[in-house]
Symmetry: C2
Subunit: 357 residues, 2 copies
């Protein structure tokens, strides 16, 4: 909860709204920790997640993913009862929303300031003009502003590089604000990645931040420099199921179905799929040296250990493992246990359909 408190205070200090992304934890109870810190507006990445949190009392929710017009029925149902924010990239999407929405929604345009995944290029004024005009003409659509997700900060390990990415985005966003502020004096600039929000001290020039991962952090964020090992607030407890003394390897019941296949490439070109910690009565230690998760298959985790640590672990012991990517790990787990022993739920299931012949 210290991670939450710290981000809440940082947002207050910088006078920006914290609209935390709840996809990392997907837990009503973890949501309550945010509410206790005064957070009122949240971000999610699907209609289904929005419904889950709306059912748990959240009434100001942004779905920060290009609106899926195949879910208009659920969108209408949600827009009837909460302040719903959607995001669009294309005119086709805006047209479909305009045609089928039954209740007003906030609509932001997703802008690409350098990540190159999705979003309108920040310099494509012709397209932004056309979209803003299209939104203006629709009474159910309330133009809210511009949202950015700088996912390319995840590839950096240098504070200056992250600062540059942030500055570049803010610069481009402010040009957009200048362009439209006479017609939309309240338009909001929203930015979202955990590395920027964690590392950059002075968050000026935007109205809102939407980090998510910081609630737990993970080895990836530690590597980037967003957090210390001590800040990582999620740990998997995996049973030791086999030992191989000939090669100093232990087998954990914990594989890619639990951790996902995210990996950290080390400077010596070796791969790490998780760092081992000692589980204690009230939590866990810092990462141990001389022991690491070196490979994962579907249910097996392979841990390479120094002779001393190899001998320390017995079959049936629980080994603590810090994950490489907490969002995916949490998504795969569907439930948490706090170090105080409380059970927390996690939204289960996914909306897409898999076809079987």
């Amino acid at each position: 909860m210290q991670n939450i408190r710290r981000m809440v205070e940082k947002a207050k200090r910088n006078r920006v709204r914290l609209r935390p992304h709840f996809k990392t934890h997907q837990s009503a109870q973890v949501g309550e920790w945010f509410r206790a810190h005064g957070v009122e507006a949240i971000t999610v990445s699907s209609v289904r997640m929005a419904r889950y949190f709306a059912n748990h009392g959240w009434d100001d929710i942004m779905i920060a993913f290009p609106a899926n017009i195949l879910e208009l029925e659920s969108i209408n149902e949600l827009a009837a009862r909460i302040k719903l924010h959607l995001v669009a990239v294309n005119q086709e999407t805006v047209a479909a929303l305009a045609k089928h929405l039954q209740h007003p929604v906030q609509l932001s345009l997703k802008i690409d300031t350098g990540y190159r995944r999705t979003g309108i290029m920040a310099t494509n004024y012709a397209e932004v003009d056309a979209l803003v005009q299209q939104i203006r003409e629709q009474d159910k659509l309330q133009f809210a502003g511009f949202v950015v997700h700088d996912g390319h900060t995840y590839k950096q390990t240098d504070t200056d590089a992250i600062q540059t990415i942030f500055n570049t985005s803010v610069y481009q966003l402010r040009l957009l604000r200048e362009r439209y502020k006479s017609k939309f004096p309240d338009l909001q600039l929203s930015i979202g990645d955990t590395p920027s929000c964690s590392i950059i001290k002075t968050i000026h020039g935007v109205d809102e931040i939407r980090p998510g991962n910081f609630v737990f952090y993970d080895l990836t964020q530690q590597r980037i420099g967003s957090c210390s090992f001590d800040d990582i607030a999620v740990c998997m407890a995996c049973p030791v199921v086999a030992k191989h003394p000939d090669r100093g390897e232990l087998i954990l019941y914990g594989g890619s179905v639990h951790f996902s296949k995210d990996v950290i490439l080390q400077e010596d070109a070796s791969s790490v799929y998780g760092r081992v910690v000692e589980l204690t009565e009230n939590g866990w230690s810092g990462p141990l040296e001389g022991i690491e998760v070196v490979s994962l298959s579907q249910e097996h985790g392979v841990v390479k250990a120094s002779p001393e640590l190899f001998d320390k672990y017995k079959i049936g012991d629980l080994m603590g493992v810090l994950p490489v990517h907490s969002c995916l790990t949490a998504n795969l787990m569907q439930g948490y246990l706090t170090t105080a022993g409380e059970q927390l739920e996690h939204l289960t299931g996914l909306p897409q359909r898999e076809l079987v012949s």
Copy 2:
């Protein structure tokens, strides 16, 4: 279902027992398709999955994963009502089972014939002798034989290489049988990977095969040579949510939380995360040329398309995607829809605990 029929017939022709691995589908209804083909014994990878299928009428189940002695209570509950097979690698595990089991279980030793993930080295006769002797002394443990999983066939794309792996395993397993057959005339040799079971025509020298992936197959198996594109029996239907004409890319609602991050490296060093097919009324076409899933983030799939195919897809269309790894994709989806429109369930949730501070 054609994949099931073909494997059932192959097992019959070779006079080996087919004990299919159900972790690929984890669906009671898909299990019924096997039962309709006369299958009576199954494989799973966790106690939880065993309980799920026991509750759906399966009474001969092998948990093909080193027994997790932290789950002895559930193991006892299962062993009271079904013929339960466990697998062990270490003496510590056998000792814990011997001490706490309340009902007889079948116990096989997991042998490593070359994969080097887990298992007793096939040539480590001293260790196998000790383990067999240890099992013999316990009345609740019934020594069943030796199991192998040749996961290294997944790295091959050459039929001869797979045949060599299979022959090497069978050779080593038969030496083990020779060694113990006077005391255990009924001991069983069991082998399990989908590539071997699909590619090798004459499966001689073992008593049992445990393939799982073949029920759906996937792009990885097609690449290995285990199946043709036409045999792939699972397909994700993903909504198109954004279009980027400037770079010929479409954005799908379908990312690593749905597909996992498995990837196929192509000969030109490019990566493929899924092949696109045309969805038809009764199923789907073969993979289209000039369009591929080229990257995945958490919820986004990025599809690169030729100009013609780019123009063909509109926002809100469903795009069919063949997955790289059907086991992980199925695990992430928790539900299927058959091409005949039937809803199929998938076991949800996972047993490990994630700790939160």
